[in-house]
């Protein structure tokens, strides 16, 4: 059975448009102009139990709207959204007990109190027994190295510490489904990696279904086998990460180190020159021609080293967004 099932899901908002300036304000006071924003427009996907899925798209693509609808905050305008067999927007307490939503820019920790107070409250809210609470808390605190900060007022914690404490709050009740919206936003590289490792570990240990959005490709690349790409509320891609490369990467990157300096213009016939540093040149070559081009280069020039790589995933995805809608 799918843990999450979404079909033909739409979420449209009505927003007010206001012309600039005082006159504009007066005008919209008399006559309100509204327009419909299609935050999510007809998307469908299924996620199985225990899957860790990356959800990517530029700002305003509809990622957060989707997560909010899956966790029951928003009512879908149309279509079917089902999580663990529940309709999320009914906000059935039995359903809410099994999920958690972590937003990188929004905190559930009580701002003026130490994190431990939030945990004690969550213990009661989710009806966690003393024994389970202690065990889970110890485990999470250990994994995230939080022992020292539990009794410090939340607003005095650093962003990284707060994010980790936030994860503990979200996981105390061992949710079956975890929605993570930009969990690493604003964190330094070391902390990002720590959070990533933790998410991976958590997914393995508890067989939790995790849906993650992030701006950082590293998050998605390292964690998720499967990714879903959306833009302008439409689904652009749903599949394995390496499938994206096969499907969308029409170029390969050649990195060639020549024995001696060569004229770069000569290389232009093989493909687009990306950059050149001393004797090393990088060229983007059409995928189908790559083996042929490699042979030619090795024949024509004195080559010290040649490597052929896939284009970075970031570039591929950027090109997908630039092209707009892609038929999959």
């Amino acid at each position: 059975m799918s843990a999450i099932s979404v079909s033909h899901f739409k979420k449209h908002y009505k927003v007010e448009e206001k012309e600039p300036g005082l006159f504009g304000s007066l005008k919209s006071f008399v006559h309100k102009k509204t327009k419909i924003v299609k935050a999510v427009d007809d998307i469908s996907f299924e996620i199985k139990e225990g899957e860790l899925v990356g959800f990517i798209g530029p700002n305003g693509a509809g990622k957060t709207t989707t997560l909010k609808s899956l966790s029951g905050l928003l009512h879908p305008t149309d279509g079917k959204v089902e999580v663990l067999g529940y309709k999320p927007y009914t906000r059935d307490h039995k359903f809410l007990k099994q999920i958690s939503l972590v937003m990188g820019q929004r905190f559930q920790l009580w701002w003026d109190l130490p994190p431990i107070e939030t945990y004690l409250l969550n213990k009661e809210i989710y009806g966690i027994t003393d024994a389970t609470y202690k065990k889970t808390l110890d485990e999470l605190v250990e994994l995230l190295e939080l022992k020292e900060v539990l009794n410090i007022q939340t607003r005095k914690l650093s962003l990284g510490q707060r994010m980790k404490c936030e994860l503990v709050a979200a996981l105390l009740h061992s949710p079956k489904i975890l929605f993570l919206d930009e969990p690493t936003i604003g964190l330094d590289v070391v902390m990002q990696k720590k959070i990533r490792d933790f998410i991976r570990e958590y997914n393995k240990r508890h067989n939790a279904t995790i849906l993650l959005t992030s701006h950082y490709m590293m998050d998605v690349k390292e964690l998720c086998k499967r990714i879903i790409i959306i833009d302008h509320g439409k689904l652009l891609f749903d599949g394995k990460l390496d499938e994206i490369i096969q499907k969308f990467a029409d170029h390969k990157i050649f990195s060639i180190t020549f024995e001696k300096q060569v004229n770069i213009d000569v290389l232009k016939e093989f493909g687009e020159v990306i950059d050149s540093v001393e004797q090393t040149v990088r060229i983007s070559v059409e995928r189908e021609k790559s083996s042929e081009v490699a042979a030619q280069i090795l024949k024509k020039f004195q080559v010290a080293d040649l490597s052929i790589e896939e284009a970075p995933i970031e570039d591929i995805i950027r090109s997908i967004f630039n092209k707009g809608k892609v038929n999959v």
């Binding site: 928003l74 809410l96 109190l113 809210i125 989710y126």
Partner: protein, 265 residues
């Protein structure tokens, strides 16, 4: 239930963090009380009865206001518009809690603290300025007073809740709340003076609204100025208003959460 008690505890803990802030808030209440107190004391200097109130009844009324305001007026529900606007409500919506109950318990914690302080303050003031204070003659009055106050607590809560929930639609909840808060709750509720001090035509209009059931009628019960039947009638109407505002709040909540955009983040 334990989750709501824990929410109450958290509310108290928050106050402890900002003790000074809270003390200033108490000072404000005491000043409000003293203003009324000296005002009426001055009026009773040359007379024994004003608008049908003896001095002891009037003193009971204004002390009653100080006490009942901390019992009946819901304070934390007023956080809701802000929570709706900036999206803080989100964190509670994805947890298995009832927001109605949660806010009620936050209010209750807040009230317990305020009531404790109010009682201490009143006792001190009474000890310093000795003056006659009306004590009901019949035991039945106490029962009636407790009953109507108990219902008024819920009326105050749902009235405030209803108002706060309009923030799902209004972009500027503060002006609505201010107008409502000051004019209706305080003025029509009888916070500054007993309503029967007003011209009778105005008073009878105010009686048609739910507001006088918050402070005025409970205090009229205490001062035994309502005949037995009138007092029971007041309790009855108070219950009806409470039920009405409970259902209105439910409706607003249902429609509002559907409308809620969970903005910010």
């Amino acid at each position: 239930m334990s989750k709501y008690i824990q929410i109450g505890k958290i509310t108290l803990l928050e106050y402890l963090v900002y003790r000074l802030n809270y003390i200033f808030w108490r000072v404000r209440s005491v000043i409000f009380f003293l203003t009324l107190f000296f005002f009426w004391l001055a009026i009773y200097k040359n007379t024994t009865s004003v608008f049908g109130y003896s001095q002891s009844q009037m003193m009971a009324y204004i002390i009653g206001i100080a006490f009942l305001r901390s019992v009946v007026f819901a304070s934390r529900v007023g956080d809701l518009p802000g929570m709706i606007r900036d999206g803080t409500l989100t964190k509670f919506l994805i947890q298995p809690v009832s927001i109605f109950k949660m806010m009620f318990f936050r209010d209750t914690a807040d009230k317990l603290l305020n009531i404790t302080f109010t009682i201490v303050e009143i006792v001190i003031i009474l000890a310093i300025f000795k003056f006659p204070f009306y004590i009901p003659q019949h035991t039945f009055t106490y029962l009636l007073f407790i009953t109507i106050t108990f219902v008024a607590v819920f009326l105050g809560y749902f009235l405030n809740l209803f108002l706060s929930l309009t923030a799902f639609w209004t972009e500027d909840p503060w002006s609505t709340r201010w107008v409502f808060g000051v004019i209706f709750l305080e003025f029509f509720g009888g916070s500054y003076f007993p309503i029967d001090v007003l011209p009778s035509w105005l008073a009878s209009i105010i009686y048609l609204t739910p507001f006088p059931y918050l402070l005025y009628f409970p205090l009229k019960v205490w001062t035994e100025q309502l005949a037995g039947f009138q007092a029971l009638q007041a309790v009855g109407i108070c219950i009806i208003w409470t039920v009405i505002f409970y259902f209105l709040s439910r409706i607003l909540w249902k429609k509002g959460t559907k409308n809620y955009g969970a903005y910010g983040g």
